[in-house]
C-alpha cells in the first residue's frame, strides 16, 4: 500500500461525516428522500473509503467476518420482528397502525418506521461490506 499522507488525512476526516450523513439518510427516510437501503449503502461506502485509504488488512483487523454476519442477522431480525409483531397484533405484515392501536401509545408508528429503516440499513451495510471484503480481499480468512 502506497504511503500518502494527504489521502490518509482526508479520509480520516471524511469517514465520520459520511457515516453521520448515512445515519441522517436512514432516519430521514420516512419523511423525505432516502431510506434504509440508501443509508446502508452510504455507510458501506465509508468502509470502502477506509479500505482504499488504509488498505484491506488494516480494516480487516477491525471488522471481522463474525461481526458482519451478526450485524446482518440482527438487521433482518429487527425488520422481520416488527413485521411479524404487526401480524401478531392482528394487522397485516408491517402494518404499524395495528401495533399502535394494540399498545395504545400515540405516534408509535413513527418510531417503528425508524426502527425498520435502521434494521434495513444495518443489514444492507453488513451485506455490502461482506461483498466488498470477499471480492476486493485476497481471499484470506474467508470463512
Amino acid at each position: 500500500m502506497m504511503e500518502n499522507v494527504v489521502i490518509r488525512t482526508v479520509s480520516r476526516l471524511a469517514v465520520p461525516f459520511i457515516q453521520i450523513f448515512a445515519l441522517y439518510v436512514i432516519v430521514h427516510g420516512a419523511s423525505g428522500a432516502g431510506g434504509g437501503f440508501q443509508g446502508g449503502v452510504v455507510f458501506a461506502a465509508s468502509f470502502i473509503l477506509m479500505i482504499i485509504a488504509f488498505g484491506m488488512p488494516n480494516v480487516r483487523r477491525r471488522i471481522d467476518n463474525r461481526g458482519i454476519m451478526w450485524l446482518s442477522v440482527i438487521g433482518i431480525a429487527i425488520y422481520a420482528g416488527i413485521g411479524f409483531l404487526a401480524l401478531l397484533m392482528g394487522g397485516n405484515f408491517l402494518e404499524y397502525a395495528a401495533i399502535e392501536a394494540a399498545l395504545g401509545i400515540p405516534h408509535l408508528h413513527g418510531i417503528l418506521i425508524d426502527l425498520v429503516e435502521a434494521g434495513i440499513g444495518i443489514a444492507v451495510m453488513a451485506a455490502m461490506v461482506s461483498i466488498i471484503f470477499d471480492i476486493a480481499g485476497n481471499g484470506e480468512e474467508s470463512s
Binding site: 439518510v25 461506502a45 471480492i135 476486493a136
Partner: protein, 81 residues
C-alpha cells in the same frame, strides 16, 4: 422539465451506454458506466424521482464501480473478443 437539458442529457447518456459496451478496455468501460450512472441520476432527479436518483447515485455510481474495479483487478483487464 427543460427540453434542451433533457435532450442533451439523453444524448450523452446514449453515447455513454454505447461506449460502455463497445470499448475494449474493461477499466474504461467501468468508468464510462459510472458516467452513465451519473447522468441517469440527474435524469431521475429531474423527473422528480428523488428516491430512485439517490439509489442510482449510491449503488450505480458508487458501489458497482468499486465492485467492477475490484473484479477487474482480480482478472485480466482487456477483453479477448
Amino acid at each position: 422539465m427543460i427540453w434542451a437539458l433533457d435532450f442533451a442529457l439523453l444524448l450523452f447518456m446514449i453515447i455513454c451506454a454505447t461506449a460502455a459496451i463497445t470499448v475494449k478496455d474493461l477499466l474504461h468501460a467501468t468508468i464510462v458506466l459510472a458516467a452513465y450512472s451519473l447522468i441517469m441520476t440527474v435524469l431521475w432527479a429531474e423527473m422528480n424521482a428523488v428516491d430512485v436518483a439517490f439509489t442510482e447515485a449510491t449503488v450505480g455510481a458508487g458501489i458497482t464501480t468499486v465492485l467492477f474495479i475490484a473484479a477487474i483487478a482480480r482478472t485480466r483487464r482487456s477483453s479477448s473478443d
